[in-house]
């Protein structure tokens, strides 16, 4: 089973906070990996927050393939962070030869393009790089988006952190938002792309659970957007639906919950907005999820959201103080990084609830 978490802070914090959030929950997961997406960065990338940042794990040949592609497509390199791993054979990590985090400037022809057009270009570029690396089995590209960094690896989270020197706060790597998870997908083959959180065009998502409508969701999503690919994990369905509802349909966020866990028909009938909810349920029936789940998502504007399946078969808790709010599968994670918060204010969302932490660290919650 997964354990998932997220931290949102008014001040930049170091990723070790994310590790401290997750490690107390290790009895619930299996310590088989570590993955996080950081957003709103400080440190190495602070000067280029508006420029896309590529997160990559690859071989030497893979690095060359990427460099050639980016050059051929007029992306100009700006800043770079290439962690030098701690070479210690006792560390439980299946490390790739290279981890590259690199800022690029947009190609000249699109510098004045709309944000939307730039977003499309970044998705296309990431997909092209993924295909390039995948074909020759030379690496993995996790995200390519301004102010977003993704780190994923297989192994023990503690050792992975040691390898990347994530325990040492040297100020290079800081962020205000982090979504984190400490498990590789151990259900099937160990595939790096199967590790949460997943990222697409500014949307980050991880999920704890099992989506029993995976096949239904996948069969529908495949034809909805070119970026809905992979499907190495059933949790990717949640991300793609989030992206579809918010980015493609441009619907308000409250309808995400209505799509993934629609109200039963007899409850819809009693609602004043029954016509709309019925229309949504029938047209997006293939995107309904089933099975036990908790979702944590980070939106392009930095808001962090959580909600559960319609029967609340998986746990989640939200808590914090004036400067930091965190979400975790288990309260022990919150206790580790926010021991002095007022626990009475902790929120345990119910099966019909959506909780959002906004930019002002206000916790918004509503029932579907």
């Amino acid at each position: 089973m997964c354990r998932i978490g997220a931290i949102k802070s008014k001040e930049f914090f170091h990723p070790s906070a994310a590790l401290h959030l997750m490690l107390p929950q290790q009895e619930g997961h299996d310590n088989s990996g570590f993955a996080m997406v950081m957003q709103d960065l400080a440190g190495v990338f602070s000067k280029h927050k508006d420029k896309p940042l590529l997160s990559l794990a690859c071989t030497q040949k893979g690095a060359k393939l990427v460099e050639d592609y980016m050059e051929a497509n007029d992306f100009r390199q700006l800043a770079e962070w290439i962690p030098r791993g701690v070479k210690n054979t006792k560390l439980d990590i299946k490390a790739m030869p290279y981890y590259i985090f690199r800022n690029y400037d947009y190609p000249e022809y699109c510098r004045n393009a709309t944000e939307e057009a730039k977003g499309e270009l970044l998705v296309d570029t990431r997909l092209a790089l993924r295909e390039l690396l995948e074909k020759q089995d030379q690496g993995y590209v996790y995200s390519f988006w301004p102010d977003v960094l993704t780190l994923k690896e297989i192994g023990d989270p503690w050792d992975i952190a040691t390898y990347f020197k994530l325990w040492d706060n040297d100020g290079d790597l800081m962020a205000k938002n982090v979504v984190v998870q400490c498990r590789q997908n151990t259900n099937y083959d160990i595939v790096r792309y199967a590790a949460h959180p997943f990222f697409l065009q500014g949307y980050t998502l991880c999920a704890n659970g099992e989506n029993t409508f995976y096949t239904k969701n996948k069969e529908y999503q495949k034809s909805l957007h070119r970026g809905y690919i992979g499907f190495e994990s059933d949790s990717q369905n949640f991300l793609y639906t989030l992206h579809y509802v918010l980015q493609e349909l441009k619907w308000p966020i409250k309808y995400y919950k209505h799509v993934i866990t629609p109200l039963p028909f007899n409850e819809i009938t009693l609602r004043p907005d029954s016509a709309e909810l019925r229309a949504i349920r029938q047209s997006l029936g293939s995107l309904e999820i089933n099975g036990p789940n908790t979702v944590i998502a980070m939106l392009p504007n930095g808001n962090i959201m959580t909600c559960c399946d319609s029967k609340k078969l998986r746990p989640v808790v939200v808590g914090g103080d004036d400067t930091m709010v965190a979400i975790a599968s288990e309260v022990c994670g919150l206790n580790a990084i926010l021991p002095h918060r007022n626990q009475e204010l902790d929120v345990y969302p119910n099966e019909r609830e959506v909780v959002i932490i906004n930019q002002a660290l206000e916790v918004e919650r509503w029932k579907q």
Binding site: E210, E219, K222, F265, S286, N290, G291
Partner: protein, 544 residues
Amino acid sequence: METVKTQDVTVNDLPWNIEYKPERCTMCGSCVAACTFQAIAPAVERRSVTVSTGHRPEPSQKHSAVLIIKQKDSIEQACTGCGMCEKICPNQAIKPVRNTDSRFNLLARKGGSPIKRGGRTSLNSGRTLDNIIVGRISQMTDPALDSERHTFDILAPFGRVLMPHELPLSAVNGTLNLTAKLPPVNWIYPVIFSDMSIGALSTRAWEAIALATAYLNEKHNMPVRMSSGEGGMPVKLLESEQLKYMILQIASGHFGWNRIVKSIPKMKVDPAGVLIKIGQGAKPGDGGLLPAAKVADHVQAIRGVPKADLMSPPNHQGLYSIEESVQKMFLSMNAAFKFRVPVAIKCAASSTSVSVYNNLLRDPYKICGGFFLDGIQGGTGAANEISLDHTGHPVVSKTRECYLSAVKQGRQGQIPLWAGGGIGLTGNAAADAFKVICLGANGVFLGKILIQLLGCVGNEHGRCNACNTGKCPAGICTQDPRLVERLDIDRGAQNIVEYMLALDSELRKLMAPIGNSSLPVGRSDALVTTDQAIAEKLAIQYVC
């Protein structure tokens, strides 16, 4: 020795023989009265017995004439195996026994006419669905639900569903509002009582099914819908509140529509839908057939016809293409109810079903509200046996193909798929329905099993299936008032209601272990099969 007349028909040429025990028979005559086919009759037989009762052999011959019940050696009056004689006999003195040496098929085309009968195909009784198992059981990571405790949403759409981006929604202050009318969609129970007309069925049988439908809706909150069948329905029902439970069928004969159209201004509620019947699985490419024997006074009144063989044409006259069908039929049916009532189409499953479905999916008017696929194992009230046994197409793979074709285009769910024709053939309709739904159907329709619940004894092994004769021994497929009396409407309706309540529980029993609280439409990953060919064809997991 007199030459044996080898062309003479004897009872051993017939498909069923009467096993008669004269020593148990009291000659009460009940069996003869009960036999609607007049296959048996009282007769006198000569007995000759040699007896010797003294101490020494003193044989003497005793001749007597005894009364017996005798089977007729007539093709026209052949026993159908319905077993009414056995049912009524107080002494278990008589019953039909299947005759494996029957020469019926060779003799029954006497006079040059094809064999006609009702029921289902007898040759194509293979059961793909029985080779499929619900094999994806929730264990550990994904807990199974509790079929008794959890709530389940067991509903299916009837109506045209738009793609998400086609919905006329606009966001104002974070709330979506519909800005235009949507095509009508009714969410109904995923099991529809299929179209059997008044005419094919007796008024009592039809009424029993209608009664069960209303009872399930009003007492058990199960929104089951019933299709009228071609031939209209009583004006009283057309003008009642209960019309909302009915799907009006229009087929190529347009029987009954005069009354329906005239009733429209007086209707209190809209019907649940309109079903345009293009073809049916039991006799694809052949029109409906109501033999004159069944065209009783009330049938003449409802349909507005004289007493004669009523043959619906094999196609809708004037419709020459799918496009035309869409424009004429769908538009006029939609317009008749001012676009408030969904209109669906029923076709016999065929090698061409996918292309028909694709055309409907791509129709720019977006007004086809359902695609009903009827497979070869569907039943009928009357058909040429050659059509029943030798034409048609299994529904399972065709439903799957239609679904996957829609998936390929990202259009699954837009035109709901309803599968029928053999659903519940073994009596287990819930399992059949569940599996077909996992393969992509939104719901199923049942016909034959309903009349079996009313008391029909017909089966796929040549028992009875005399629905075409007007002599239905169960009072179901006949208009003979004396036979119709045999059917107890209330008990019949109760059987259907109780079956449906059980079916509902059984559906939950299948949804719960795969962890689904709403219908698993297209969840093919929930199914496995031990048959490699089925696995390959349906794209489900092969297991052994």
